[in-house]
Amino acid sequence: MSTAAVPVLEVADLRVSFVQYERGLRRRVIDAVLGMDLTVHPGEVVALVGASGAGKSLLGHAVLSLLPPNARCSGVVRHLGRELDVSARRELAGHEVVLLPQGVSALDPTTSVGGQVRRAARLADAPNARAAARGALVRRGLDETVDRRYPHQLSGGMARRVIGAIAGMGHPSLVIADEPTPGLHPTAVTEALAGLRRLADDGAGVVLITHELRGAIAVADRVVVAHRGRTVDEAPVADFAGTGGRLTHPYTRALWQALPGHGFTVPSVPVPDLEVS
């Protein structure tokens, strides 16, 4: 992995807080992210690992400008060297930067699959939205009958392919996969993670946001550990071995050792025909 190239994503000292109004007009500020740093190069999968509430999803939302109106966000976000303010982040969303969810809940239950993929094609400024949508579905092995189906009529694998078609519509240079694996069958997890690896091998930068260290190690190049609103450590995947002797940060080592069996070995990832690309 060439680290000399310009990073596709650079996040420096990201802070996010929420303003809440309690009974009456009493104002309360909740600091959710207290300083996060993350760098992703093209062709690289970087896992952002941490427990629930560590603020890792907020990083993804901040980069895509998906934070709710009561959120305050500061820090630097750069895409290919260019610093992005909030409106620039919004412009890149759906084109250069995409969110890749996995569950069927990411699809609108009341709109047909064809309608949703075509809408995504229009948002990505495809010259012929209908053809672009059909093409994206065909490349994932989904025929015309899928267009008229509704999300609740799809199998889990089909839903993931439809989501992949929607997310990939804008030929993104950065993919943010937020918690792609919880609740999935082990083979589906492997499949989903392999899909992310393929995206990176095709040249995109991938941020894998997850609380499952095991899956992250299976697919990522580097692991960034988040804890209580901060990124506390960064380690190459190779360091997660044995009893964690090469891990320097105590929290990271604790995470590693919490997995069943200190001598836990990383399963090699079979790369089947990919569903997500």
């Binding site: 969303a93 084109h95 995409v98 969110l99 239950p109 009341t110 809408r119 989501i163 519509m169």
Partner: protein, 323 residues
């Protein structure tokens, strides 16, 4: 499929029967003497012999079960009987009154649905802001206000203080219903319809608001936004249909409440509709008319619910029409 249709039909029939039997039982248990209620102020000039003749003609001396059996038998031949207080066949009274009420209830139903949904959408999209707070408070206020009180308030402001609208009736005083112009009719419809719409807006607004808040927090809205969807497109393509389900179901299910509301509103505005006829029939023991109204109301409510299911399915493909 056929089995479920039949089951549904059976349920409708049994419900209508239950409503009719219940109404009849309540009426026969009522302490009001129908003959006394019928003669009213003329009581002094009517002898007991004449009373006995009226009672005999109405069949009041027969046992209740026999009277109900006779009525039910006639219903199967399409004869709903004779209204005792209007002296006309129940079918004719129902048709007259329903026509007047239909205009009132349809206006109120459409207005409350459209405005309730639009305001709920606005409140939900702006959740937490002062717009949302103002709309929600307003809805809570209306939801807790009795219909007759809102009617009286409007009557006081617009008819008495401002003099913009008539104080009552469906047509100007001294005009036969057939002679009134459309403009005059609409003028008389304004306040009762406004009262019912105002009351009807509240539940639709609050349910829609909640649905919109949930939709906006959903994964598919986050995904749509990450594709670059702007607020207007978001509402049009993702929020409208998803948030419409509760409003649609509620609006079709509220037809029954609308009947109840029109009962009170028509009383306040002396509007000669179905509601007013119901009050009269109940107060004066007009059993055939009341049973007719109960039956027709039950059928309309059940039909409304059935339509609600169909529209719900059209809005949300996951919803089942039957079952």
């Amino acid at each position: 499929m056929l089995g479920r249709v039949l089951l549904r039909a059976l349920r409708v029939v049994s419900l209508v029967v239950a409503v009719v039997v219940g109404s009849f039982w309540l009426m026969s248990a009522s302490p009001v003497d129908p003959v006394q209620a019928y003669v009213g102020a003329d009581a002094a000039s009517i002898g007991s012999e004449q009373r006995e003749q009226i009672a005999e003609r109405w069949g009041l001396n027969d046992p209740p079960l026999e009277r109900f059996a006779a009525w039910a038998g006639n219903v199967f031949t399409g004869d709903l009987g004779q209204s005792q207080i209007y002296g006309e066949p129940v079918v004719v009274v129902l048709a007259d009154r329903a026509a007047a009420s239909l205009a009132l209830m349809t206006t109120a139903w459409v207005l409350s649905g459209v405005f309730g949904f639009a305001m709920g959408l606005l409140a939900g999209m702006r959740a937490g802001t002062w717009v949302d707070r103002a709309l929600s408070w307003w809805a809570y206020l209306l939801a807790s206000a009795p219909t007759f009180w809102v009617g009286l308030l409007l009557l006081y402001v617009f008819s008495v203080a401002l003099g913009w609208t008539p104080v009552g009736g469906a047509v100007p005083t001294g005009t036969l219903p057939g002679e009134a112009s459309l403009l005059e009719r609409v003028h008389h419809l304004l306040l009762p319809a406004a009262t019912l719409s105002l009351i009807g807006v509240a539940p639709v607004l609050l349910h829609t608001r909640q649905a919109v808040v949930e939709v906006m927090a959903s994964d598919y809205v986050a995904f749509a936004r990450s594709q670059g969807e702007q607020p207007f497109g978001l509402v049009l393509h993702r929020v409208l249909r998803n948030a419409a389900a509760p409003a649609v179901v509620l609006q079709f299910a509220s037809i029954g409440e609308l009947f109840g509301g029109s009962l009170l509103a028509e009383q306040v505005f002396t509007y000669p509709g179905l509601g007013e006829a119901t009050t009269q029939a109940a107060l004066r023991q007009d059993v055939p008319l009341l049973l007719g109204i109960a039956m027709v109301t039950a059928l309309i409510v059940l039909t409304g619910n059935a339509f609600g299911r169909v529209v719900h399915h059209a809005v949300d493909p996951r919803a089942s029409v039957l079952a």
